[in-house]
Each structure stands twice: as C-alpha cells, then as structure tokens.
C-alpha cells in the first residue's frame, strides 16, 4: 500500500473522515437554483480568517501602550518585512468585511431568506454585524493616531447621553475620565480577545442554525415554494439539489478570489481610500483636528444624529430602526417570499438603501 493511501486509511478507520465527507460535504445538497449571493457567507468566513491571521502577525509587533503604540505601527509599516502588507490587509480587510456583511444582509432581506422559522439564523447574523462594527471601533483606537484618539473620545462621550448611568458608563468605557492608556488597554483586550471569541461563537451558532434548519431556496423560478410554518421542527431538505462540494464550493472559491482581488486592488492602487490625514498623525490630546468623520459605515448614524433637534431623539430613532430590523422575522410573518409579489416590502427596501446612501453622502460632506 502506498504511504499516502495508508495514512488516509489509518486516519479514516479512527475518525471516519470519508463518511464525514460523504455526509457533510458531498452529501450536503443545496437548492438547484442557488445563486451567487449564497457565496457571501463563504466570502465572509475567508475574510474573517484573513483578519485573524493578519491580526496575529500584527500582534507580534504592536505595543498596546499610549507612549509606544503609534511608533510600533510606524515600525510595522516601515521596518517589519511585509508589515505594511499585513497592516493594510487588516485595516482595508475590515472595510471589505463591512461591504460583504451589508451585501449578505441585503441579499437575505431581498430574498426573504429569514422566513420559514429562521429567526435564530437572522438574529445571530444581525448580532455578528453589530459585533463586527464593535471590532472596527475598538480596532480604530489601537494605532493611537489623531483619528483614533478623537474618534474614540467622541464615541465614548456618546454614552453620556444615556439617562442616569451615562456618566458612569463613559468612565467605565474609558477606564478614566479621559481617553488614555487605560482606554487603550481595555479596547485592545476587547479587540484581540473578548470580541473575537464572542464572534467565533456567534459564527458557529449562525452556521449551526443554517445547517440545522436547512438552507432556504431562492424565491425565484418554477421551483419556488412558499415558506411553511409547521408546528414542529423540520430540516428543509433539497433531495434533487446539487452537492455543496465540489459543485457549489467552486463558485464560493471563485467569488472569494474576486473579493481578494478587489481588496488587493485597493491596497495597491488606492491605499489612502480609508485613511484620512489624521490617521497618520500621532494622537495629541491638546490638538483637536477640524474634521473628524466616522468610517463610511457609521456615517448614516453620524448624520442622522445631526438631523434631529436633540441627540437623544436621533439616538432613539436609530435604536427603534435597528430594533425593527433585528425583529423583522418576528414582524414579517407572511408566507410569500417572491419580491415581485411583495411590492410594499420591495419599495421600502429600495427606499431604505437610497436613504442609507444619501444620508451617508450627506454625512461625508456635512
């Protein structure tokens, strides 16, 4: 027997990998009309994996101390072999993840894939989106640039608007009355350990929900079936479907490659796209930059606050909107999933996207 074959047999007899492959990969059948939007989950897993790898590499050189953090980033960018690449992959990768997450959420909304007893899948996904924004925010402080410092000062100051506990919360978040070494320490801990652990758990839960309930069919074409609300648990099967591996996996791999190409194109041809000038200046608590803008995915919230006469109203409106979005599967109970048969939903969907884009642009130029 050849050594490789022998090794495969040796492992298989003990762990049953072939059986696992036949059942979970080759035997895992997807709907025949599954489309390209279904690849975004795999794209996100690939991007998050890249974040973990580049994050670990950055951790080898980054120093979470307010006196040394900025210098350590400069060291990574200028002296560590390929340090600039790891840092850019990490920072720009975070923005690409946000793009992929929003596309994933919008596609799920459009195809009403949250229907058919998939509330847990939607909720875990929605929390992943929010947690990722939290990871972006905590990661923002770590370079200890002017942008980091003042963006965090303003963001943590926001907690003060919450009635009764606001002031305590501000100090709790910062670890001190003002943003400083204590803040950097706790944001660092949250960014590299706390939040990633929770995120990994949530991703596991999300995948479990998808796998356990069964993947939803796209609501298009002759195979369309309305989602049924059965009084008992049922795994949605696709007996005439296509195998996940290798048939659909190659499409996942193709889209992952295109996303990687897109990210590298930004890194090599437009590296400054997500970095304003204040991102390259060391934090100075005594000099406030004139124009601090949040990242593009927070711009809508930034501008929405300015539209309303008081901060607390703006805040309340956003909380109501996000709560509505989180609870959508519990509110939208109709069985119909075809967009053509849901004109009200599609109108709100399109207007919602246009509003998001318009408010974000307004926020950028305000």
């Amino acid at each position: 027997m050849q050594p490789v074959k022998w090794l495969v047999e040796f492992v298989d007899v003990r762990l049953g990998l072939k059986d696992l492959y036949d059942r979970e990969l080759r035997g895992y059948l997807l709907p025949r009309n599954v489309n390209v939007w279904y690849t975004l989950g795999a794209v996100l897993m690939a991007l998050f994996t890249l974040q973990i790898i580049t994050g670990i590499l950055l951790l080898m050189f980054y120093v979470p101390d307010s006196e040394k953090a900025f210098a350590s980033i400069q060291y990574i960018m200028n002296d560590v072999p390929f340090g600039w690449l790891f840092r850019m992959l990490h920072a720009i990768g975070a923005n690409v993840i946000m793009i992929a997450l929003l596309m994933h959420m919008l596609s799920v909304l459009f195809m009403a894939s949250y229907k058919g007893r998939r509330e847990f899948t939607w909720l875990t996904g929605f929390i992943i989106l929010n947690l990722t924004m939290g990871l972006c925010l905590t990661g923002y402080l770590l370079p200890w640039s002017q942008l980091s410092f003042w963006a965090t000062t303003v963001a943590t100051d926001a907690a003060g608007a919450i009635p009764v506990v606001g002031d305590y919360l501000v100090e709790f978040l910062r670890g001190a009355p003002t943003v400083g070494n204590q803040t950097l320490g706790r944001f660092f801990a949250l960014h590299v350990v706390g939040m990633p652990l929770v995120l990994l758990g949530l991703m596991g839960a999300h995948l479990f929900c998808v796998k356990r309930r069964g993947i939803s069919s796209p609501p298009f074409g002759p195979d369309y079936r309305a989602s049924e609300e059965l009084p008992f648990f049922e795994h949605e099967k696709h007996p005439n479907g296509i195998p996940f591996f290798p048939n659909y996996f190659v499409k996942d791999a193709a889209v992952i490659c295109f996303f990687m190409a897109f990210m590298l194109a930004i890194i090599f041809y437009a590296p400054g796209m997500f970095f304003p000038e204040s991102a390259f200046q060391k934090a100075d608590p005594f000099v406030t930059p004139q124009h601090i803008k949040p990242e593009w995915y927070f711009l809508w919230a930034y501008q929405a606050l300015k539209i309303f006469p008081s901060e607390i109203i703006g805040l309340g409106v956003q909380v109501v909107f996000m709560t509505f979005l989180a609870l959508l599967p519990f509110i939208d109970r109709g069985a119909e999933r075809r967009p053509a048969k849901r004109p009200l939903f599609v109108t709100c969907y399109v207007l919602g996207i246009l509003l998001f884009v318009a408010i974000s642009i307004w926020g950028h130029y305000s």
């Binding site: 003042w150 303003v154 499409k251 606050l305 703006g314 956003q318």
Partner: protein, 268 residues
C-alpha cells in the same frame, strides 16, 4: 431585540459622533471680545481666520502677548501684552518666531534702511491675513512702490528653481506620509532647508542668494534620491500586487469555468 443589543449599538455607533466641533478648543477671550466688534478693532479677527497663522494654531496672544484666558488681564502688560508694534519694531516683533529670517533681513539692505522707511515684514507679507509666503510676493508692482525692479527680478530668477524643488519635495513627502511611510527625518531636513532658503533672500543680496540656494538644492537633491528609492520600492510593490491581483482574477475565472462544467453535468 434585547436591551443589551440596543445599548451595544448605542455605545458603538451613535450618540457622540455628532459634534466634533463641540470638542474644538474654545476661542480665546481676545477673539470673543474683538470678534463681536466692528471696524478696526473687529476686522483683524476675520482676517486672522483666513491666515496661515490660524491654520497652524497661532492665535492673537502668540504675537501680541497678554492672557488669552482672562478678560480682565487679557491686555495687561503684566501678562506680557505688547499691542501694536511701531513700524521699526515690526522685524523684532515677527522675529521672535522667524528668527533666521529676521537676522538676514536686518543684515540686508531693507533692514539697514528701516529707519528711512524701507520695507519691513508687513509691507510685503501683510499682517493679520498673512498667507503662506510664495515667490509671487516678489513682483514688479509691489517692489516698484519703493524702488526699481531689476535687482528684485534677479533675486526672483535665482529662487524659482529652488522654490520649485522645495514644492516638489514637499508634495512627494506628503504623498509618502499619506501612504504610511516614516518620512519624519526627511521632513525635518526639508524644514531646515526651507528655512535656510526663506531667510536667504531677505538679505536681498544677489550673490549670497545664488550661493546659498546652490547649497539648499544640493541638500534637496539628497532627499529627492531617498524619495526616488521609496518610489522604486512602491513601484515594485505595485508590480507584484498587480501580478497577485491577476492571479486571483484568473483563478476565480477558472473556478467559474469548473462550475460551468458542473452545471452541464447537473442538467444532464
């Protein structure tokens, strides 16, 4: 959605992004008082807001002294208030910060003749609305107000090439800085050379200007070589980046073709 998610969202995103302006340093008492006045007492505030001084955080008290935090003592000589300098005192007034320029100016023809009404700083540069200096300040219209333009024209000609070099190095270093390169050392050296360059022509001595600008050009040339070396590295990175991007796109296309083949099988 649970309240905790709402709170998390609130903490993360919303409330505070709103008003960065609120965090800006408060105006000094000088600006608060004079900003509300009309005529010659209020005009300097609006002019100053457009100036290079304002853009760099240089406020009233940095030149005029006094206490910018205390209404009662803001214009007290006890707190170092100077007020408006006399015509002949202006070079010393500005020279507290622009030391080298003042030194060369005083040694030059203008500085030596200031008692007889020769040009001093504000004659050419203006005062409160002062902008970043450029060679445009040496022009026939302005210089001819006091004397013929020939000598000034010669000085200007000797400066043009160096000025262009300084601007190019500035632009290059800013570009590299925005890409995350540590260019502090080069920026410091440029700063020194720019100071040497700027003070040079305040002496209004043609030979000295030619000699000193040659030295400045040599130093700028060294910085240019370092910039070129970084640009070469950037070019190599871009080349390898392009290759990697092409590989990813091609691999993606190959995967799509494989998928196409599977689709044919699935139809069958």
């Amino acid at each position: 959605m649970s309240r905790s998610i709402c709170c998390l969202f609130v903490l993360m995103i919303v409330a505070g992004w709103s008003m960065p302006a609120a965090l800006l340093a408060a105006d000094t008492v000088c600006i608060e008082c004079h900003g509300g006045q009309e005529g010659r007492l209020g005009a300097p505030v609006a002019q100053w807001r457009t100036s290079v001084h304002a853009a760099n955080g240089i406020s009233c008290n940095d030149c005029h002294g006094g206490d910018p935090t205390d209404y009662a003592m803001a214009m007290s000589p006890e707190r170092g208030f100077i007020g408006v300098p006399k015509y002949t005192e202006v070079p010393d007034f500005c020279g507290r910060c622009h030391v080298g320029v003042a030194e060369d100016y005083k040694a030059g023809a203008h500085g030596q003749a200031i008692d007889r009404g020769a040009a001093q700083c504000v004659v050419c540069h203006g005062n409160h609305a002062i902008q970043r200096a450029s060679l445009d300040l040496i022009n026939e219209t302005d210089c001819s107000r006091c004397h013929s333009y020939e000598r000034a024209a010669l000085i200007r000609m000797s400066l043009v090439e160096t000025d262009t070099m300084v601007r190019k190095v500035e632009t290059d270093l800013d570009r590299l800085y925005r890409l995350g390169f540590a260019v502090n050392d080069m920026q410091d050296r440029l700063f020194n050379q720019r100071n040497v360059f700027h003070r040079t022509f305040h002496g209004v001595n043609v030979d000295e200007v030619r000699q000193k600008t040659a030295g400045v050009q040599a130093e700028l040339g060294k910085i240019n070589m370092e910039v070129a070396s970084i640009d070469t590295t950037l070019g190599e990175r871009k080349l390898w980046g392009s290759v990697t991007i092409a590989i990813f796109i091609l691999t993606g296309v190959v995967f799509l073709l494989v998928r196409k083949a599977y689709e044919e099988d699935e139809k069958g």
